[in-house]
Symmetry: C2
């Protein structure tokens, strides 16, 4: 169990709740006596508990996020933070979906989210399925929307939040934070407290995963950049706390520092 | 001639030097007497003159741009502004290529430039061919590079510069300008004065071309966004003059207002 948990936890270095969940599974295995079947049964129960709690956390986050919603609000988001990325209704996207359920008729600007198109492929699909008005855009076009006064609020997820409030999230998040600040648009991180790493003092200590060149140079299997060209492909970036208006969590809208 | 010139000039509404070149061809046709062969010969000579002048302008721009260069400078650029986009060595890219010819060993960060990948497909190819060190990145990753202090200078082209100095250029340029401003990185527009529209008072009067949804939703022929999703796909954006450090032209580095 230790070996497998370590392998899973090491698959992605930036997000912290994967490590948190693996640590919980290891603790449960250690606390269980009996044969392999007993341990497997305990691990299954723990996994189910984690899922149940995640659904409850998503729902509580969506509820607390309603404080930011109003009729026909125009929300810009990045990457995917819905049911496809969580155990429940989602985090940033969950706030919007809950507002739609309540009849607030929100409109969502969906960053396509290069290089893996999580916005175009996942978020747009979830919004379409829920009947929420939305439009997909190249990541670099978000600035023009803000300049035109067409974005009321930016909601993004978080892969890890440091004690001082610095947020590691999908690459492109930091650019949105700077742009939102420049245009006076509120910018909220939306994530469960299981994504908060109170042992990590600030964003500079967060390891950023860098991914292969092909995602950028050979998108969708088609080569666009010369094979000899170098590629810069960080999966995440760090948004400094001063650019974050607030942190929507299952405990409410919080502000740093975040103590353990 | 008038009819054809009007059709060509109307093909792209944002750039101004296409209209300028067509106007020049119409004037030349009007000033020529004789039969169709005489008029075609005159138009051919005018086209050749425009090309010769463009090459000379590119070369002069590259020369004036050397004032911004230094050994091993790290330049970030967007879209394509090299020999594939001009009649000569290029504009923004020409400055870098000239610096490389002079042995300054520049390094270029190349925004891939969604949705049409002009950076990955064209700029990276030109830089590779010239033996200039470079790396291609998702447009949204430029902010992380700036935060890490890895960008010394941003050089972009211009499709149209208004009298007050507002610059219309490839979508994503405005985001770079805001980010450069936030990080204290100099940001220069590099373009011939034929791209300056002194009759246009400011960027708000520049018509921005919006392009079809497929470029975003079906990149490289592969559908990534649901067919039912709306798409926001402006080809250009406007960078306000206060975010532009200077304007490199064939006449030197200029500052607004630009009089006719």
């Amino acid at each position: 169990v230790d070996e497998v948990a370590q392998r899973i936890a090491g698959a992605r270095p930036t997000a912290v709740n994967l490590r948190w969940a693996m640590e919980r599974m290891r603790r449960r295995a250690r606390a269980t006596s009996g044969d392999a079947a007993a341990i497997l049964g305990a691990l299954r129960a723990e996994a189910q508990a984690i899922w149940d709690e995640d659904r409850a956390m998503c729902s509580a986050i969506a509820e607390h996020g309603q404080a930011l919603m109003r009729a026909r609000i125009r929300v810009l988001t990045h990457c995917n933070t819905g049911a496809l990325a969580t155990g429940g209704i989602g985090t940033a996207l969950g706030v919007v979906l809950r507002a739609a359920e309540r009849g607030l008729d929100p409109e969502v600007w969906v960053d396509e989210t290069r290089p893996l198109w999580q916005g175009a492929r996942l978020t747009a699909w979830e919004l379409g399925r829920a009947g929420v008005r939305h439009a997909v855009l190249p990541d670099s076009a978000a600035a023009a929307l803000m300049a035109q006064g067409r974005v009321d609020l930016v909601l993004v997820g978080a892969d890890r939040v440091a004690r001082n409030g610095d947020v590691a999230n999908k690459v492109g998040t930091y650019a949105l934070a700077v742009l939102a600040h420049h245009h006076g648009v509120p910018f909220y991180s939306v994530a469960p407290t299981t994504s908060f790493d109170t042992a990590c003092p600030d964003g500079a200590r967060i390891e950023i995963e860098h991914r292969g060149a092909a995602e950028v140079a050979v998108p969708l299997g088609v080569r666009v950049a010369p094979a000899a060209s170098a590629v810069f492909n960080p999966a995440f970036d760090v948004t400094p706390a001063p650019l974050v208006t607030g942190y929507v969590t299952e405990r409410g809208v919080l502000h740093p520092p975040f103590e353990g």
